[in-house]
């Protein structure tokens, strides 16, 4: 089990490293094990959402938000928390979240 965990951690890190490095928050090893569903827009989610917070926030908040609910969350991250996400990415992220982690 330990070996398997290490292996997946390394793999997940290689997937995630390029996109999360510009965040100044410390990246905990286990965070790299979080896997989001394969779907169009997944990279935008990892690159943008993952810059400021671990992606378990997304899975934890599922599946009870509808499309409007997820759009509201993305808007809150941009307007409230200052996330530098452009309109095209915001739309793609909200669509991904609603399709994969919506109700």
């Amino acid at each position: 089990m330990r070996v398997a965990r290490k292996f997946t951690a390394v793999l997940a890190f290689l997937l995630a490293a390029g996109s999360i490095l510009h965040g100044t928050g410390s990246l905990r090893a286990d965070e790299t094990e979080i896997v989001l569903k394969e779907w169009s827009g997944r990279d935008a989610v990892i690159n943008n959402c993952g810059a400021c917070h671990s992606l378990d926030y997304i899975k934890m908040n599922s599946p009870f938000l509808d499309k409007t609910g997820w759009e509201g969350e993305v808007t809150k991250m941009i307007k409230g928390y200052g996330a530098p996400i452009d309109d095209a990415n915001a739309k793609q992220i909200a669509a991904y979240l609603a399709a994969n982690y919506g109700k």
Partner: protein, 413 residues
């Protein structure tokens, strides 16, 4: 996704239930079972895929809800003790840049427009130049139990463990403010900590208190928690203690205290941590931050928790004793009552020692030897000003103040 990853996740999901479903799973999940917390079935199902029992440096294993910013809650078993051990105390951050603070070089600056004689103080000043005071107080996240809200609302999906009770030792904030010489126009005192955001555009976490609460003799800058230095993840070297009020005001790693002549206008005051006006029976007000529609959250609502038995099964022929804790916003617990008939009739539990009006209060009741079958137990606390818990939580947009009566569904076998 590698196959081993799928297997791990699936096993974790299975192991997250209160009992293993089949004996053959026992060996396969033995390594994981230790990591899988027992989760409330009312939580969103997504919580179970991510929650793990994991120890942060310097902490005991807690239920990990989010890695970054770190959000870890105490398992229910922690609350068998009236005082929460430091290493089991919950961890909650909004922002992920959390520096290790060196107490030898750390300073708190005290200033602002409302201060006539700004100054800064270090760790030794704080401990030696101010009269030390001690008090026991509950630190509870405003959103504790958000995950139990029905319908669910977004945010950290806390179960019951985003709270703890500790004996805090520190200097009175009013004594520190006296050295800064407050002007008459001062209306709020604001607080900043060493932690910061991952990107500069994210508003730094800065909070304010109304002047009256800041000058309360029980509001302190604490440098000890249960007789020891604060753990890093609970605010080392010093944090604000605003007893009775929710933890959003208890600034960790305190670096700046600002006397303000104008209301603090930031995301954390104007958008976050607000409740609809007059929805909750709060009696303590933060007038300079109120709007017609909503107000800042202030004191903790009266609440209780059943802490024992932890198992959903009891044995017939044995005396059934129920234990728990109750707490409120600093008025003091006056009674805890138990119902076994869905709230039609109530019996008083025996209260334990009084550790002060801001503390958890233990309670206990013996229910004799109940016959085989199902027993649905409700616990309801009341406080010294006549407030008690509602049967169901009061819905509100951010899922704050969840204080529905505590419930334990037991099967006597």
């Amino acid at each position: 996704m590698p196959k081993s990853e799928i297997d791990r996740r699936e096993m974790l999901r299975l192991a997250a239930g209160t009992a293993l479903a089949a004996p053959w799973l026992a060996s396969a999940t033995s390594a994981l079972a230790a990591q899988a917390p027992s989760l409330d079935p009312r939580l969103p199902s997504g919580v179970a895929t991510e929650a793990l029992l994991e120890a942060l440096p310097g902490k005991a294993p807690l239920i990990k809800l989010a890695y970054r910013a770190p959000n870890y809650e105490s398992p229910l078993s922690v609350f068998k003790d009236t005082i929460t051990p430091n290493d089991s105390f919950f961890v909650r951050y909004h922002l992920s840049d959390i520096p290790n603070v060196n107490a030898a070089t750390w300073r708190i600056s005290i200033g602002g427009e409302g201060a006539t004689t700004p100054l800064d103080i270090g760790f030794d000043d704080l401990r030696k130049n101010f009269e030390p005071v001690e008090l026991v107080a509950v630190c509870q996240c405003s959103g504790n139990r958000r995950g139990l809200a029905n319908p669910h609302v977004p945010g950290v999906q806390w179960g019951v463990g985003a709270m703890g009770n500790a004996r805090w030792k520190g200097a009175r904030l009013k004594d520190i403010l006296a050295k800064a010489g407050l002007k008459e126009e001062t209306i709020e005192i604001a607080f900043d900590g060493a932690d910061g955001p991952a990107v500069d555009a994210t508003p730094d976490f800065v909070k304010s208190l109304p002047l009256w609460k800041a000058l309360d003799s029980d509001t302190i800058v604490a440098y000890e928690m249960n007789g020891e230095p604060l753990p890093h993840f609970n605010g080392f070297p010093a944090r604000l203690i605003a007893p009775g009020w929710t933890a959003t005001y208890w600034m960790k790693h305190l670096t700046r205290i600002e006397a303000r002549t104008k209301p603090l206008d930031n995301f954390w005051m104007k958008s976050a941590y607000r409740v609809p006006a007059r929805l909750f029976p709060s009696t303590q007000r933060f007038v300079s931050q109120e709007s017609p529609a909503n107000t800042p959250i202030t004191e903790i609502m009266v609440n209780s928790l059943i802490t024992s038995p932890l198992s959903a099964e009891a044995k017939s022929g044995e005396t059934l004793t129920i234990n728990g804790i109750a707490w409120d916003g600093g008025f003091g617990i006056s009674s805890v009552e138990i119902s076994q008939d869905g709230g039609k009739s109530w019996t008083s539990a025996e209260l334990g020692p009084d550790l002060g009006r801001y503390s958890f209060r233990d309670w206990q009741i013996s229910l004799g030897r109940p016959p085989r079958g199902k027993v649905d137990i409700l616990a309801k606390a009341s406080n010294a000003i006549g407030q008690s818990q509602p049967m169901t939580a009061i819905p509100n947009p951010a899922g704050y103040h969840h204080n529905a009566v505590a419930r334990l569904a037991l099967t006597v076998v």
